[in-house]
Protein backbone atom coordinates (compact mmCIF):
# COMPACT_ATOMS: atom_id res chain seq x y z
CA UNK A 1 0.00 0.00 0.00
CA UNK A 2 1.40 3.37 -1.01
CA UNK A 3 1.56 6.16 1.59
CA UNK A 4 -1.23 8.70 1.52
CA UNK A 5 -0.62 12.20 0.24
CA UNK A 6 -1.23 13.91 3.67
CA UNK A 7 1.27 11.52 5.24
CA UNK A 8 3.91 12.53 2.72
CA UNK A 9 3.18 16.20 3.26
CA UNK A 10 3.40 15.79 7.04
CA UNK A 11 6.63 13.86 6.74
CA UNK A 12 8.22 16.48 4.52
CA UNK A 13 7.06 19.29 6.79
CA UNK A 14 8.33 17.44 9.84
CA UNK A 15 11.70 16.91 8.21
CA UNK A 16 11.95 20.56 7.22
CA UNK A 17 10.97 21.68 10.72
CA UNK A 18 13.53 19.38 12.34
CA UNK A 19 16.17 20.60 9.93
CA UNK A 20 15.30 24.22 10.71
CA UNK A 21 15.40 23.68 14.46
CA UNK A 22 18.69 21.85 14.21
CA UNK A 23 20.09 24.58 12.01
CA UNK A 24 19.13 27.54 14.17
CA UNK A 25 20.25 25.89 17.41
CA UNK A 26 23.95 26.65 16.97
CA UNK A 27 23.14 30.07 15.62
CA UNK A 28 21.19 30.84 18.74
CA UNK A 29 23.98 29.47 20.92
CA UNK A 30 26.47 31.62 19.08
CA UNK A 31 24.35 34.67 19.74
CA UNK A 32 24.49 34.13 23.49
CA UNK A 33 27.59 35.14 25.42
CA UNK A 34 27.74 32.06 27.58
CA UNK A 35 25.85 28.96 28.61
CA UNK A 36 25.60 27.71 32.17
CA UNK A 37 26.89 24.14 32.30
CA UNK A 38 26.82 23.66 36.06
CA UNK A 39 25.07 25.51 38.87
CA UNK A 40 25.11 24.62 42.54
CA UNK A 41 23.04 26.39 45.22
CA UNK A 42 22.39 30.09 44.65
CA UNK A 43 23.22 31.13 41.09
CA UNK A 44 21.45 34.05 39.45
CA UNK A 45 21.77 36.02 36.29
CA UNK A 46 20.51 39.40 35.30
CA UNK A 47 21.08 42.51 33.29
CA UNK A 48 23.17 45.41 34.39
CA UNK A 49 20.41 47.67 33.17
CA UNK A 50 17.74 46.24 35.47
CA UNK A 51 17.75 45.23 39.10
CA UNK A 52 15.81 42.03 38.53
CA UNK A 53 17.65 38.72 38.71
CA UNK A 54 16.62 35.30 37.59
CA UNK A 55 17.85 31.96 38.90
CA UNK A 56 20.28 30.32 36.51
CA UNK A 57 20.40 26.61 35.94
CA UNK A 58 22.17 24.25 33.59
CA UNK A 59 21.40 25.32 30.05
CA UNK A 60 20.65 28.94 30.91
CA UNK A 61 22.07 31.21 28.27
CA UNK A 62 23.53 34.55 29.17
CA UNK A 63 23.11 37.25 26.60
CA UNK A 64 25.77 39.83 25.94
CA UNK A 65 25.78 42.25 28.85
CA UNK A 66 24.19 39.86 31.32
CA UNK A 67 26.01 38.92 34.50
CA UNK A 68 26.10 35.75 36.51
CA UNK A 69 26.20 35.93 40.28
CA UNK A 70 26.82 33.21 42.83
CA UNK A 71 25.85 33.26 46.48
CA UNK A 72 27.35 31.82 49.63
CA UNK A 73 28.62 28.23 49.26
CA UNK A 74 27.61 28.32 45.63
CA UNK A 75 29.43 27.68 42.40
CA UNK A 76 28.78 27.65 38.69
CA UNK A 77 30.40 26.77 35.41
CA UNK A 78 29.98 28.55 32.11
CA UNK A 79 30.97 27.75 28.60
CA UNK A 80 31.73 30.99 26.85
CA UNK A 81 31.06 31.64 23.20
CA UNK A 82 34.79 31.29 22.52
CA UNK A 83 34.70 27.73 23.95
CA UNK A 84 36.47 28.81 27.13
CA UNK A 85 35.34 27.24 30.36
CA UNK A 86 34.94 29.56 33.33
CA UNK A 87 34.14 28.37 36.81
CA UNK A 88 32.85 30.71 39.48
CA UNK A 89 33.40 30.31 43.18
CA UNK A 90 31.15 31.63 45.93
CA UNK A 91 30.09 35.28 46.06
CA UNK A 92 31.28 36.00 42.55
CA UNK A 93 29.89 38.52 40.09
CA UNK A 94 30.91 37.85 36.53
CA UNK A 95 30.14 39.26 33.13
CA UNK A 96 31.37 38.26 29.69
CA UNK A 97 31.11 40.31 26.53
CA UNK A 98 31.24 38.58 23.18
CA UNK A 99 31.81 41.87 21.42
CA UNK A 100 35.03 42.62 23.27
CA UNK A 101 35.91 39.03 24.24
CA UNK A 102 36.33 40.34 27.74
CA UNK A 103 35.53 39.00 31.18
CA UNK A 104 34.58 41.58 33.75
CA UNK A 105 35.23 40.20 37.23
CA UNK A 106 33.62 42.49 39.76
CA UNK A 107 34.04 40.33 42.82
CA UNK A 108 34.90 36.81 43.85
CA UNK A 109 36.94 34.05 42.29
CA UNK A 110 37.02 32.46 38.86
CA UNK A 111 39.00 29.72 37.19
CA UNK A 112 39.32 29.97 33.45
CA UNK A 113 40.58 27.66 30.74
CA UNK A 114 40.79 29.19 27.32
CA UNK A 115 41.62 26.97 24.34
CA UNK A 116 44.76 27.81 22.44
CA UNK A 117 43.04 29.31 19.43
CA UNK A 118 45.37 32.27 19.14
CA UNK A 119 42.70 34.80 20.06
CA UNK A 120 43.23 37.05 23.03
CA UNK A 121 40.74 37.27 25.86
CA UNK A 122 40.92 39.93 28.55
CA UNK A 123 40.06 39.50 32.19
CA UNK A 124 39.29 42.89 33.66
CA UNK A 125 38.82 44.16 37.16
CA UNK A 126 38.57 47.67 38.52
CA UNK A 127 42.34 48.07 38.72
CA UNK A 128 43.92 45.29 36.70
CA UNK A 129 43.63 43.84 33.20
CA UNK A 130 45.01 40.43 32.28
CA UNK A 131 45.39 39.27 28.69
CA UNK A 132 45.39 35.54 27.97
CA UNK A 133 45.63 33.66 24.70
CA UNK A 134 45.52 29.97 25.48
CA UNK A 135 45.77 29.67 29.19
CA UNK A 136 44.39 28.04 32.31
CA UNK A 137 44.46 30.06 35.50
CA UNK A 138 42.52 31.80 38.17
CA UNK A 139 41.69 35.31 39.27
CA UNK A 140 40.35 36.61 42.51
CA UNK A 141 39.10 40.05 43.48
CA UNK A 142 38.88 41.20 47.08
CA UNK A 143 37.84 44.84 47.16
CA UNK A 144 40.59 46.55 45.18
CA UNK A 145 43.02 43.71 45.77
CA UNK A 146 43.72 41.23 43.01
CA UNK A 147 45.24 37.79 42.73
CA UNK A 148 46.02 36.22 39.38
CA UNK A 149 47.72 32.86 38.84
CA UNK A 150 48.48 30.55 35.95
CA UNK A 151 48.35 26.79 35.88
CA UNK A 152 49.58 26.59 32.29
CA UNK A 153 50.31 29.02 29.49
CA UNK A 154 51.32 32.65 29.68
CA UNK A 155 49.59 35.95 30.35
CA UNK A 156 50.40 39.60 30.55
CA UNK A 157 48.93 41.57 33.43
CA UNK A 158 48.68 45.34 33.29
CA UNK A 159 48.73 47.13 36.62
CA UNK A 160 49.01 50.88 36.74
CA UNK A 161 50.13 50.99 33.12
CA UNK A 162 53.00 48.55 33.66
CA UNK A 163 52.86 45.17 31.95
CA UNK A 164 53.98 42.12 33.92
CA UNK A 165 54.54 38.86 32.09
CA UNK A 166 53.32 35.89 34.09
CA UNK A 167 54.36 32.32 33.35
CA UNK A 168 52.85 29.00 34.31
CA UNK A 169 53.19 28.34 38.01
CA UNK A 170 53.36 32.02 38.93
CA UNK A 171 50.99 34.29 40.81
CA UNK A 172 50.84 38.06 40.74
CA UNK A 173 49.30 39.62 43.80
CA UNK A 174 48.35 43.25 43.84
CA UNK A 175 47.27 45.29 46.82
CA UNK A 176 46.63 48.99 46.29
CA UNK A 177 49.42 51.10 47.72
CA UNK A 178 52.08 48.41 47.36
CA UNK A 179 54.06 47.15 44.37
CA UNK A 180 52.77 43.95 42.79
CA UNK A 181 54.34 40.73 43.99
CA UNK A 182 55.12 37.83 41.70
CA UNK A 183 55.91 34.45 43.18
CA UNK A 184 55.77 30.79 42.27
CA UNK A 185 53.27 28.35 43.70
CA UNK A 186 52.78 24.63 43.99
CA UNK A 187 50.71 23.80 40.91
CA UNK A 188 49.91 20.13 41.68
CA UNK A 189 48.80 21.03 45.21
CA UNK A 190 46.50 23.71 43.84
CA UNK A 191 44.99 21.26 41.37
CA UNK A 192 44.42 18.73 44.13
CA UNK A 193 42.84 21.09 46.62
CA UNK A 194 41.03 23.80 44.71
CA UNK A 195 37.24 23.32 44.73
CA UNK A 196 37.21 25.04 41.36
CA UNK A 197 39.01 21.96 40.05
CA UNK A 198 37.85 19.12 42.26
CA UNK A 199 34.14 19.89 42.54
CA UNK A 200 33.42 20.07 38.85
CA UNK A 201 32.87 17.06 36.64
CA UNK A 202 33.67 18.44 33.23
CA UNK A 203 37.22 18.29 31.95
CA UNK A 204 38.85 21.57 31.14
CA UNK A 205 39.61 22.17 27.45
CA UNK A 206 43.32 22.59 28.17
CA UNK A 207 43.60 19.45 30.30
CA UNK A 208 46.46 17.96 28.20
CA UNK A 209 48.47 21.13 28.74
CA UNK A 210 47.70 21.05 32.45
CA UNK A 211 48.88 17.44 32.64
CA UNK A 212 52.07 18.41 30.80
CA UNK A 213 52.68 21.30 33.16
CA UNK A 214 52.24 19.07 36.19
CA UNK A 215 54.67 16.55 34.74
CA UNK A 216 57.25 19.30 34.15
CA UNK A 217 56.67 20.67 37.64
CA UNK A 218 57.20 17.25 39.20
CA UNK A 219 60.38 16.82 37.16
CA UNK A 220 61.74 20.18 38.33
CA UNK A 221 60.94 19.28 41.94
CA UNK A 222 62.74 15.95 41.56
CA UNK A 223 65.79 17.75 40.16
CA UNK A 224 65.77 20.38 42.89
CA UNK A 225 64.85 23.38 40.74
CA UNK A 226 61.66 23.89 42.72
CA UNK A 227 61.66 23.79 46.49
CA UNK A 228 60.62 25.61 49.62
CA UNK A 229 61.49 29.31 49.84
CA UNK A 230 65.10 29.92 50.80
CA UNK A 231 67.17 32.88 51.90
CA UNK A 232 68.57 35.07 49.11
CA UNK A 233 70.98 33.31 46.82
CA UNK A 234 73.33 34.28 44.04
CA UNK A 235 71.95 33.82 40.57
CA UNK A 236 74.96 31.91 39.43
CA UNK A 237 74.71 30.91 35.83
CA UNK A 238 77.31 28.33 35.04
CA UNK A 239 79.23 29.50 32.01
CA UNK A 240 76.51 32.04 31.59
CA UNK A 241 76.42 33.90 28.37
CA UNK A 242 80.05 33.57 27.55
CA UNK A 243 82.17 30.94 25.98
CA UNK A 244 81.78 27.76 28.01
CA UNK A 245 85.00 26.30 26.72
CA UNK A 246 88.38 26.91 28.23
CA UNK A 247 90.06 29.72 26.45
CA UNK A 248 92.85 28.96 24.14
CA UNK A 249 96.28 28.86 25.77
CA UNK A 250 97.58 31.48 23.44
CA UNK A 251 100.87 31.64 25.22
CA UNK A 252 101.84 28.03 24.74
CA UNK A 253 100.33 27.88 21.30
CA UNK A 254 102.04 31.00 20.18
CA UNK A 255 105.35 29.79 21.41
CA UNK A 256 104.86 26.31 20.10
CA UNK A 257 104.04 27.77 16.75
CA UNK A 258 107.14 29.85 16.90
CA UNK A 259 109.29 26.95 17.98
CA UNK A 260 107.98 24.07 15.96
CA UNK A 261 106.39 25.51 12.91
CA UNK A 262 109.33 27.61 11.93
CA UNK A 263 112.90 26.70 11.13
CA UNK A 264 114.92 26.29 14.31
CA UNK A 265 116.21 29.68 15.34
CA UNK A 266 119.89 30.33 15.66
CA UNK A 267 121.19 30.67 19.21
CA UNK A 268 120.94 34.42 19.06
CA UNK A 269 117.51 34.48 17.48
CA UNK A 270 115.49 37.20 19.14
CA UNK A 271 112.37 35.01 19.35
CA UNK A 272 113.90 32.37 21.56
CA UNK A 273 111.59 29.63 22.60
CA UNK A 274 109.53 30.56 25.58
CA UNK A 275 106.73 28.16 26.30
CA UNK A 276 104.57 30.42 28.31
Amino acid sequence: MSPSFPFVIKSVLGFLLATFVAAIGPLRAADSAATVTEAVNEVNHGSLQTAATTPAKVGTRLEDGEYLKTGVKSRAELELANQSITRLGANTIFNYSVATNEIDLQAGTILFSKPKDGKQMNIKTASVTAAVVGTTGFAQVHGHGFLFGLVEGHASVTIGGIVYNIAAGEIVRFTPGAPPQIFSFNVPLFLKTSPLITRFDKKLPNQPYIDKEVAEYDDLVARGFIGPPMPPFFQTDFLGSVSPVPIIPRDSAGNALQQFNMPPPPPTHPFASNPG
Partner: protein, 315 residues
Protein backbone atom coordinates in the same frame (compact mmCIF):
# COMPACT_ATOMS: atom_id res chain seq x y z
CA UNK B 1 58.96 38.53 46.57
CA UNK B 2 59.96 39.96 43.30
CA UNK B 3 58.28 41.94 40.59
CA UNK B 4 58.52 41.80 36.86
CA UNK B 5 61.45 44.12 36.61
CA UNK B 6 63.60 42.20 39.01
CA UNK B 7 64.19 39.02 36.99
CA UNK B 8 65.28 41.01 33.97
CA UNK B 9 67.38 43.19 36.22
CA UNK B 10 69.06 40.17 37.72
CA UNK B 11 69.48 38.55 34.35
CA UNK B 12 71.10 41.58 32.79
CA UNK B 13 73.31 42.06 35.78
CA UNK B 14 74.27 38.41 35.87
CA UNK B 15 75.15 38.31 32.24
CA UNK B 16 77.02 41.55 32.40
CA UNK B 17 78.99 40.40 35.40
CA UNK B 18 79.69 37.22 33.54
CA UNK B 19 81.23 39.25 30.80
CA UNK B 20 83.13 41.26 33.36
CA UNK B 21 84.65 38.10 34.71
CA UNK B 22 85.07 36.24 31.50
CA UNK B 23 85.36 38.54 28.54
CA UNK B 24 88.78 39.88 29.36
CA UNK B 25 90.05 36.41 30.01
CA UNK B 26 90.42 35.69 26.36
CA UNK B 27 92.75 38.57 26.08
CA UNK B 28 94.54 37.51 29.22
CA UNK B 29 95.60 34.45 27.42
CA UNK B 30 98.85 34.36 29.31
CA UNK B 31 96.99 32.93 32.24
CA UNK B 32 94.56 30.41 30.90
CA UNK B 33 94.05 28.50 34.10
CA UNK B 34 92.05 31.03 36.06
CA UNK B 35 89.59 31.62 33.30
CA UNK B 36 89.48 28.07 32.11
CA UNK B 37 86.21 27.67 33.90
CA UNK B 38 84.23 30.75 33.44
CA UNK B 39 81.34 31.53 35.64
CA UNK B 40 79.03 34.43 35.62
CA UNK B 41 77.58 35.71 38.79
CA UNK B 42 74.41 37.65 39.25
CA UNK B 43 73.17 39.99 41.85
CA UNK B 44 71.39 38.74 44.88
CA UNK B 45 67.67 39.24 44.79
CA UNK B 46 66.90 42.66 46.17
CA UNK B 47 64.38 41.24 48.58
CA UNK B 48 64.15 37.86 50.22
CA UNK B 49 61.88 35.32 48.57
CA UNK B 50 58.41 34.79 49.95
CA UNK B 51 58.26 33.32 53.41
CA UNK B 52 57.33 29.69 53.53
CA UNK B 53 53.60 30.12 53.57
CA UNK B 54 50.64 28.05 52.62
CA UNK B 55 47.39 29.95 52.44
CA UNK B 56 44.06 28.28 52.21
CA UNK B 57 41.14 29.79 50.38
CA UNK B 58 37.61 28.41 50.23
CA UNK B 59 37.60 28.58 46.44
CA UNK B 60 41.24 28.36 45.45
CA UNK B 61 42.27 25.66 47.88
CA UNK B 62 45.86 25.62 49.13
CA UNK B 63 48.30 28.10 47.65
CA UNK B 64 51.77 26.92 48.62
CA UNK B 65 54.56 29.38 47.85
CA UNK B 66 57.64 27.75 46.36
CA UNK B 67 61.04 28.90 45.12
CA UNK B 68 62.21 28.34 41.57
CA UNK B 69 65.90 28.17 40.76
CA UNK B 70 67.24 29.02 37.32
CA UNK B 71 67.64 25.96 35.13
CA UNK B 72 70.52 25.92 32.64
CA UNK B 73 69.42 26.07 29.05
CA UNK B 74 70.03 22.93 27.04
CA UNK B 75 71.74 24.61 24.09
CA UNK B 76 73.98 27.65 24.00
CA UNK B 77 75.48 29.20 20.90
CA UNK B 78 77.79 32.13 21.19
CA UNK B 79 80.33 34.05 19.23
CA UNK B 80 82.90 36.54 20.35
CA UNK B 81 84.70 38.90 18.02
CA UNK B 82 87.72 40.43 19.67
CA UNK B 83 90.06 43.07 18.43
CA UNK B 84 93.07 43.88 20.50
CA UNK B 85 96.64 44.97 20.46
CA UNK B 86 99.47 43.09 22.03
CA UNK B 87 102.92 44.51 22.53
CA UNK B 88 104.48 41.06 22.77
CA UNK B 89 103.23 38.54 20.25
CA UNK B 90 105.91 35.95 20.97
CA UNK B 91 106.12 36.20 24.74
CA UNK B 92 109.74 37.12 24.95
CA UNK B 93 111.33 40.30 26.12
CA UNK B 94 114.36 39.65 23.96
CA UNK B 95 112.81 41.39 20.99
CA UNK B 96 109.33 42.73 21.50
CA UNK B 97 107.02 42.45 18.52
CA UNK B 98 103.78 44.32 18.79
CA UNK B 99 100.76 43.78 16.62
CA UNK B 100 97.08 44.34 16.32
CA UNK B 101 95.15 41.10 16.51
CA UNK B 102 91.79 39.53 15.86
CA UNK B 103 90.31 36.59 17.70
CA UNK B 104 87.09 35.13 16.34
CA UNK B 105 85.51 32.58 18.61
CA UNK B 106 82.50 30.34 17.93
CA UNK B 107 81.06 28.07 20.58
CA UNK B 108 78.26 25.56 20.91
CA UNK B 109 77.47 23.86 24.18
CA UNK B 110 75.02 21.23 25.30
CA UNK B 111 73.68 20.45 28.77
CA UNK B 112 72.26 16.93 28.57
CA UNK B 113 70.81 16.95 32.06
CA UNK B 114 71.13 19.07 35.14
CA UNK B 115 70.20 19.25 38.79
CA UNK B 116 69.82 22.37 40.86
CA UNK B 117 73.36 22.05 42.18
CA UNK B 118 75.00 20.16 39.33
CA UNK B 119 75.51 21.14 35.72
CA UNK B 120 77.42 18.95 33.29
CA UNK B 121 78.24 20.43 29.91
CA UNK B 122 79.75 19.40 26.61
CA UNK B 123 81.20 22.17 24.47
CA UNK B 124 82.76 22.63 21.10
CA UNK B 125 84.70 25.75 20.27
CA UNK B 126 86.56 27.06 17.27
CA UNK B 127 88.94 29.99 17.49
CA UNK B 128 90.95 31.80 14.91
CA UNK B 129 93.72 34.21 15.81
CA UNK B 130 95.22 36.57 13.29
CA UNK B 131 97.93 39.14 13.89
CA UNK B 132 98.06 42.27 11.82
CA UNK B 133 101.84 42.46 11.52
CA UNK B 134 103.07 39.08 12.75
CA UNK B 135 101.42 36.54 10.46
CA UNK B 136 103.78 33.78 11.56
CA UNK B 137 101.94 33.83 14.86
CA UNK B 138 98.52 33.18 13.33
CA UNK B 139 96.79 30.00 14.36
CA UNK B 140 93.46 28.19 14.43
CA UNK B 141 92.25 26.23 17.41
CA UNK B 142 89.54 23.65 18.10
CA UNK B 143 88.40 22.60 21.56
CA UNK B 144 86.24 19.82 22.92
CA UNK B 145 85.45 20.23 26.59
CA UNK B 146 83.51 18.20 29.11
CA UNK B 147 82.84 19.99 32.35
CA UNK B 148 80.90 19.59 35.55
CA UNK B 149 79.94 22.25 38.04
CA UNK B 150 78.71 21.58 41.52
CA UNK B 151 77.30 24.32 43.76
CA UNK B 152 77.76 23.40 47.36
CA UNK B 153 76.15 26.13 49.40
CA UNK B 154 72.54 27.21 49.70
CA UNK B 155 73.32 30.80 48.77
CA UNK B 156 75.18 29.48 45.72
CA UNK B 157 78.23 31.49 46.66
CA UNK B 158 80.61 28.52 46.47
CA UNK B 159 81.09 26.26 43.48
CA UNK B 160 83.46 23.61 42.29
CA UNK B 161 84.05 23.00 38.62
CA UNK B 162 86.03 20.22 37.00
CA UNK B 163 86.75 20.02 33.30
CA UNK B 164 88.72 18.14 30.72
CA UNK B 165 89.55 20.03 27.57
CA UNK B 166 91.05 18.60 24.42
CA UNK B 167 92.67 21.28 22.36
CA UNK B 168 94.25 21.27 18.92
CA UNK B 169 96.18 24.04 17.18
CA UNK B 170 96.98 24.40 13.51
CA UNK B 171 98.90 26.89 11.44
CA UNK B 172 96.71 28.40 8.71
CA UNK B 173 99.64 29.46 6.57
CA UNK B 174 101.30 26.06 6.62
CA UNK B 175 98.59 23.82 5.14
CA UNK B 176 96.87 23.64 8.50
CA UNK B 177 99.84 21.87 9.99
CA UNK B 178 99.05 20.74 13.55
CA UNK B 179 101.83 22.19 15.64
CA UNK B 180 100.50 21.84 19.15
CA UNK B 181 97.83 19.99 21.11
CA UNK B 182 97.08 19.46 24.73
CA UNK B 183 94.69 18.01 27.24
CA UNK B 184 93.93 20.25 30.19
CA UNK B 185 92.68 18.70 33.42
CA UNK B 186 91.17 21.52 35.39
CA UNK B 187 89.71 22.03 38.83
CA UNK B 188 88.40 25.30 40.13
CA UNK B 189 86.78 26.51 43.32
CA UNK B 190 85.02 29.85 43.06
CA UNK B 191 83.42 32.15 45.58
CA UNK B 192 81.34 35.27 45.18
CA UNK B 193 80.52 37.81 47.85
CA UNK B 194 78.51 40.98 47.91
CA UNK B 195 80.79 43.48 49.58
CA UNK B 196 78.26 46.09 50.68
CA UNK B 197 74.66 45.34 51.45
CA UNK B 198 72.24 46.97 49.00
CA UNK B 199 75.14 48.04 46.82
CA UNK B 200 75.89 46.27 43.51
CA UNK B 201 79.54 45.67 44.29
CA UNK B 202 80.76 42.10 44.19
CA UNK B 203 83.99 40.30 44.97
CA UNK B 204 84.79 37.12 43.10
CA UNK B 205 87.66 34.85 44.06
CA UNK B 206 88.76 31.59 42.50
CA UNK B 207 91.49 29.02 42.91
CA UNK B 208 92.33 27.02 39.84
CA UNK B 209 94.52 23.96 39.50
CA UNK B 210 95.19 22.95 35.91
CA UNK B 211 97.50 20.34 34.48
CA UNK B 212 98.43 20.77 30.83
CA UNK B 213 99.46 17.54 29.17
CA UNK B 214 100.92 18.84 25.97
CA UNK B 215 102.32 17.60 22.73
CA UNK B 216 105.19 18.49 22.35
CA UNK B 217 105.85 17.58 25.95
CA UNK B 218 108.06 20.64 26.41
CA UNK B 219 104.90 22.48 27.35
CA UNK B 220 103.65 20.10 30.04
CA UNK B 221 102.95 22.22 33.05
CA UNK B 222 100.94 22.59 36.25
CA UNK B 223 99.28 25.91 36.92
CA UNK B 224 98.19 27.09 40.35
CA UNK B 225 96.21 30.26 39.88
CA UNK B 226 94.36 32.58 42.17
CA UNK B 227 91.94 35.07 40.75
CA UNK B 228 90.53 38.10 42.53
CA UNK B 229 88.12 40.44 40.84
CA UNK B 230 85.59 43.10 41.64
CA UNK B 231 82.47 43.91 39.71
CA UNK B 232 80.55 47.11 40.21
CA UNK B 233 77.31 48.00 38.48
CA UNK B 234 76.57 51.70 38.36
CA UNK B 235 73.56 50.65 36.29
CA UNK B 236 72.39 47.08 35.67
CA UNK B 237 73.58 47.10 32.05
CA UNK B 238 77.08 48.30 32.84
CA UNK B 239 79.82 46.62 34.83
CA UNK B 240 83.25 47.85 35.77
CA UNK B 241 85.72 45.42 37.23
CA UNK B 242 89.39 45.19 38.06
CA UNK B 243 91.02 41.76 38.14
CA UNK B 244 94.28 40.46 39.62
CA UNK B 245 95.53 36.96 38.88
CA UNK B 246 98.70 35.63 40.49
CA UNK B 247 99.71 32.24 39.15
CA UNK B 248 102.52 29.77 39.78
CA UNK B 249 103.52 27.56 36.86
CA UNK B 250 105.75 24.52 37.10
CA UNK B 251 107.15 22.94 33.94
CA UNK B 252 107.99 19.26 34.02
CA UNK B 253 110.04 18.70 30.92
CA UNK B 254 113.62 19.85 30.87
CA UNK B 255 115.02 20.93 27.53
CA UNK B 256 117.97 22.85 26.28
CA UNK B 257 116.02 26.03 26.90
CA UNK B 258 114.46 25.21 30.24
CA UNK B 259 115.55 23.39 33.35
CA UNK B 260 113.31 22.91 36.41
CA UNK B 261 111.48 25.93 35.20
CA UNK B 262 109.07 27.74 37.49
CA UNK B 263 107.27 30.95 36.58
CA UNK B 264 105.34 33.40 38.68
CA UNK B 265 102.80 34.96 36.38
CA UNK B 266 100.87 38.01 37.45
CA UNK B 267 98.17 39.66 35.39
CA UNK B 268 96.19 42.74 36.22
CA UNK B 269 93.39 44.25 34.24
CA UNK B 270 90.29 46.35 34.07
CA UNK B 271 87.18 45.55 32.12
CA UNK B 272 84.15 47.63 31.28
CA UNK B 273 81.20 45.82 29.79
CA UNK B 274 77.96 47.16 28.48
CA UNK B 275 75.19 44.67 27.95
CA UNK B 276 72.12 46.33 26.50
CA UNK B 277 70.25 43.04 26.13
CA UNK B 278 70.76 39.43 27.00
CA UNK B 279 71.91 38.55 23.49
CA UNK B 280 74.80 40.93 23.06
CA UNK B 281 77.53 42.73 24.94
CA UNK B 282 80.33 45.12 24.22
CA UNK B 283 83.50 45.17 26.28
CA UNK B 284 86.65 47.20 26.46
CA UNK B 285 89.55 46.08 28.58
CA UNK B 286 93.16 46.65 29.38
CA UNK B 287 95.42 43.91 30.70
CA UNK B 288 99.03 43.75 31.71
CA UNK B 289 100.93 40.52 32.33
CA UNK B 290 104.23 40.10 34.13
CA UNK B 291 105.87 36.71 33.97
CA UNK B 292 108.90 36.09 36.18
CA UNK B 293 110.82 32.91 35.36
CA UNK B 294 113.67 31.25 37.22
CA UNK B 295 115.07 30.35 33.81
CA UNK B 296 117.14 33.16 32.48
CA UNK B 297 115.78 34.93 29.45
CA UNK B 298 112.32 33.46 29.73
CA UNK B 299 110.61 36.15 31.72
CA UNK B 300 108.33 38.40 29.72
CA UNK B 301 105.58 40.94 29.99
CA UNK B 302 102.67 41.90 27.77
CA UNK B 303 100.09 44.63 27.59
CA UNK B 304 96.86 44.13 25.69
CA UNK B 305 94.15 46.74 25.30
CA UNK B 306 91.16 45.23 23.58
CA UNK B 307 87.60 45.51 22.39
CA UNK B 308 85.16 42.64 22.05
CA UNK B 309 81.62 42.08 20.87
CA UNK B 310 79.81 38.98 22.04
CA UNK B 311 76.54 37.47 20.94
CA UNK B 312 74.74 34.61 22.67
CA UNK B 313 71.62 32.60 22.08
CA UNK B 314 70.32 30.02 24.54
CA UNK B 315 67.33 27.74 24.46
Amino acid sequence: MNDMKRPSHILCAGLALGFAVAAPSVLWAQVPAAETLQQSVGLRPEAPPPASTTTSDADLGQIDVVQKFPKPETFTFSTSQQFFYTDNVFYTNANLVGSTAYLGSYTASFVPYSLRDWTPRISLQYNMVRYGSAASGDFDNENLAVSSQYVFSDDRAWSWTAAINLSRFTAPHANDHEFYKEVVYDNQIAHVQQLVKNMPLFFIAAYDLAYHQANPADFDRLDNTLSFSLAYYPIPELSIGPVVRPSGRAYFTNTEDQNDRFDFNLSEGLDITWQPCKYAALSVDLTHVDDYSNNAGQSYDETTPGLSVTGTVKF
